[in-house]
Structure formats: structure tokens, C-alpha cells
Subunit: 302 residues, 2 copies
């Protein structure tokens, strides 16, 4: 049984994602995203489960920075979870005067609280799971939590599926040390991070290498490097798998343009969306083109 570190504590959305991505494995909470990644780097865990982007809040910067610093790690799987909260109370509580949760969670259920618990005072806690602990301890009357929290704490469900924006989603990654990659499926995502000098047109050049090969972006985040407010690392996700000739060709081109290019993984997309293939940019076209040049070199064709 593999040992999977996840960004804890127990009872959060990341634990829920880890259950999807590593069903049956041993799940070990880590206090921060950085510590979950470090556990894999130090061999204390076989893989780590961490959030990478949220449709409302944007990129999870601690994950992006954690993947680009220190020893390389690669994503081998992803899960996308809807951000639907549960509201939990102590059994027997009749009047709810205080509702605790992480400030981000409280912000995402404000309309629901106003409509359903108008008399309750929202209280900030350090995590959704800490709010559940506080309710169990008698500090607050109710907690806004991930659905999985009710399995860890002896609390009663007031409501499930609570969310002001009903289609908010978070994407999570399962990351390992570099090694065997998942097989290509035709519905894959490849991730890289490129550190670029602050020169006019650098990013346009990198993206044109992908676009000219018919490769569709799925995400782009520019993160300032710690040292310089004006210098950036570009986190780029695109359709396809590093086993495909069109992706191999693009990665080699990016490698020529970037001194600091890191491969962050190729894995199946959780949403199952198959890659868009532009005319002339399918894998057979790349193989045919290479074969043609080989034949020209040998004098067989012209």
C-alpha cells in the first residue's frame, strides 16, 4: 500500500481529492502544501495530493512555487471536485448563533448563510476542518466544511451542497518523483514551467512554438520570481502527452528557447476532454514530415 501525503488537516477538500486519486492507499495529512511536497522529495511519501487551481480564486500559488523550486516532481493524475460545502452542528444544538469556517469558505457561502441562518455570526477559523473541531469542542455552534469532514467528527449535518456559485471547482494533482509516466489516452494534459528573462516578446515566442504546432493551451499563470518583482516564471498547461510526436517536437523547441524549462507531467484530464487536433498537426503529420526529411537526406526523395 502506497503512502500519500496530502495538504491537511483531515476532513478538507484535499483529503477528499486524495481519496479519489489514491483510493485504498494510506493517506497522511501534512500541515502545508510545501510539507506535502517535501515528504515526497525526502522519500517519506510515495506521492502527494495538492490543490492547483480554483475556478473562483485562481491559481494556488503555494503549489506552483512548490513544484518549480527544489527537486523536480511530476503530476501523474488529477481530480476536479465541485466546491460544495456541508454545514455541520453538534448533535442536539437547537439554536445556531455562531458559524465558523476558513474566511475563503465563509466568503463562498455568504448568500446561503444570510438566507438560511440570518441570525448567526460568522467566525473565521484557520481551516474548514479546524471549524469542525471547534464545533465539537463547543467553541462554535456550526461549521462550514468539506463534505468529508462529517466522517471524522461526530457532528450532525444541517445542510449539504451549500455554495453561492454553484459551479465553483477545484483541480487537484497527484505528484510523484520523476519515473514511469501514465500512458497517453488522447485526453491528456501536459504541464511545464519556464523561467524567462525579462525581454520583450519572450512569452509570445514560447506560446507561438505551441500554437504553430496546433497545441491548445488549457492554463497559463505568470508568477513573479521571489528575487525580482518584474521577472516571471510561466506555468503552462496544454493538451496532449509527452509520448506524442507533436508534443515531443514542441517541447524540444521550448527547450531550445529556455535555459530553465521543467517538465511537470503528462496525465489524463479529469474532465475527459480529448485534445483538439488542428489540420496538419496530428501525430501522423509529424511522423510523415520526419520520415520525408529522412528520405530527402538519404537521397530517396526530393
Amino acid at each position: 500500500m502506497a503512502r500519500i501525503a496530502y495538504f491537511g488537516p483531515q476532513g478538507t477538500f484535499t483529503e477528499q481529492a486524495a481519496r479519489v486519486l489514491a483510493a485504498g492507499d494510506e493517506l497522511v495529512p501534512a500541515e502545508t502544501i510545501r510539507l506535502a511536497l517535501t515528504a515526497v522529495r525526502h522519500g517519506e511519501a510515495d506521492a502527494a495530493c495538492v490543490p492547483v487551481e480554483n475556478s473562483v480564486e485562481g491559481a494556488v500559488t503555494a503549489t506552483l512555487d512548490g513544484l518549480s523550486d527544489a527537486d523536480p516532481l511530476v503530476a501523474v493524475a488529477e481530480a476536479i471536485l465541485p466546491v460544495h460545502f456541508s454545514v455541520l452542528k453538534r448533535p442536539g444544538t437547537t439554536e445556531i448563533r455562531t458559524v465558523a469556517s476558513h474566511p475563503h469558505a465563509l466568503a463562498q457561502v455568504r448568500d446561503w448563510l444570510e438566507a438560511n441562518l440570518p441570525g448567526a455570526t460568522p467566525v473565521a477559523s484557520s481551516s474548514t476542518a479546524a471549524a469542525a473541531v471547534g464545533v465539537h469542542a463547543g467553541d462554535f455552534d456550526a461549521a462550514v466544511t468539506a463534505p468529508v469532514a462529517v466522517e471524522h467528527y461526530p457532528l450532525e449535518v444541517v445542510a449539504t451542497g451549500v455554495a453561492d456559485v454553484s459551479d465553483a471547482r477545484t483541480r487537484f494533482l497527484l505528484v510523484r518523483k520523476p519515473g514511469e509516466l501514465p500512458e497517453p489516452t488522447g485526453a491528456d494534459r501536459t504541464s511545464i514551467v519556464a523561467a524567462a528573462v525579462n525581454r520583450t516578446g519572450t512569452l509570445a515566442e514560447l506560446l507561438t512554438e505551441l500554437a504553430s504546432r496546433g497545441i491548445n493551451l488549457t492554463r497559463l499563470d505568470a508568477r513573479p520570481t521571489r528575487d525580482n518583482f518584474g521577472e516571471y516564471r510561466f506555468f503552462i498547461d496544454f493538451e496532449g502527452h509527452v509520448a506524442e510526436p507533436r508534443i515531443i517536437d514542441a517541447l524540444a523547441a521550448l527547450r531550445r528557447r529556455c535555459r530553465n524549462l521543467r517538465f511537470l507531467g503528462s496525465h489524463p484530464r479529469a474532465d475527459g476532454i480529448r485534445s483538439t487536433i488542428e489540420p496538419g498537426a496530428d501525430n501522423d503529420s509529424f511522423l510523415d514530415a520526419t520520415a520525408w526529411v529522412d528520405a530527402v537526406r538519404k537521397g530517396d526523395l526530393a
Copy 2:
């Protein structure tokens, strides 16, 4: 005296930025970023002061979304503040057992707290200013706050300049309804937001329009639209001012490529960094080129 809405409450970093950007004006706290922007849109305030990016946390998504939805607003000035906290206590407190602040602030001073107040329990509050209110009310012993908080609450300074990452910075904007623009200074920033269809190469094409005119990006954020996890709005900041011929030429090109392009302002950079001008892409080159084409059309040159 103008009336300036800012993302409150009183005593936060945004109030501090508003004092820099609107010295002498009436400053009115708003409960959320969205409400600060709405106050300007409804004519209840002349301008709003909101955070837009942080060197550690990344983009402030509520500001980006708030500027691209609803009626247009434009940034007319910016301020960059170091994220240095103050630690405040009630006068006379001898032992500090609890330290309250917003979870983001606590995360940014964790090493400092461990070194200087190792026995104190960190407690999450809804804002840095709410922590100061809680200390004043006797709920906690100390608060981690923006430096300006001590001017609003009768508390005593334990320490100033507190920050684990000493060069963390936040950039703030002063936004108004569209109208007269600030004069170009040679060290300006222009901001736009472009909604793009999910088609291979769209972003590469937009950035190439800027790069081919020698225009240097200073920031790029891709935000998913609310409706579709795969569709994006691109928030692009670049060097230059809409009054310059090279910027006019680029914006017209972007307008041709995007049905939904919104101008978010041209204003002096707080860091005073002058625009990089590539050879052949200075304003005189653009004017000369236009004059040459005019002359060709008239039959004066060929």
C-alpha cells in the same frame, strides 16, 4: 474634496495605499472590493482604491473580476507598498498568550512569531483590522496589523517592520469612471482585459501583436470566465501609455482580434521604471512610418 472608497475596514494596507494615492481626500471604507468599485460606478464615490497583485499571493482575483464585469472603470494611479506588519497589544499587557490576524497575515509572519512570541497561540480573524478591534475589546492579547492600524485603535506597538519575506509587496490601483487620462511620463503602465474564444493560438496571436511592436509585458493573468472552466479572460499589463503612437497602433491591432477588449487605464508606474523601447519601435518610428505611407498614397514618394 474628492470622496474615495477603499477596500476596508479602517486600519488595513488598502487604507494605507489610499492615503498615498489620495492624500487629503475623504476616505470611505467599503466592506468588499466589489462594493468599493460599485460605489464609483453608482457615483457615490469619485474613485476607489483596491489591491491588484501581491508578490507572494499573486493576482487579487476579486479586483480583476470586478474591473472586467459591469460598467468600465479605468486605473489612473498605482501605489506599491511593502508588506511589513506591526504587532500591537493593549497598553499594560505583560504576557502575550494569543496573537490574532487574518490567516494570510499569520502565514506571512509565522517565523517571526516562533522566534519572538514562541508561547503565543495564533488566532484567525476576518481581517488584520478586526484583530486590532479584538485586542482592544480584550478578546486577544496581540494583533498582527498594517502599520496604519495603530492610528485608529488605542494600542501599543510591540514591533514594526515584521515580515518573514522581507521584500513582499502589494500593488494597489486608484480607479475612476472613464474620463480624462493622466499625462504620459515615459514610465507608464497600460492595462487591458481581453476575452478570447478557446481556439488554438489566440493568446500567442495577441502577445505577438504587442511583441512585434516592441512592447514589453509587465503582467499577464488568465482568469477562467464564470461560465466555462476552459474559457479565459486575459488581463495584460504592458509598458507605455495610450497617448503614444506605438501603443495606439498595438491597441488597434488587438481591437481587430478581440470582440471583447476593455481598456483598464494608462498611468505612471509607482516604481518609476521607464519603458524599454526596442529599435524601430519608438514613437518617432511609428509616426515616420505613417507619414511615409501617407506620402506614398499621395504619390509624393515610392
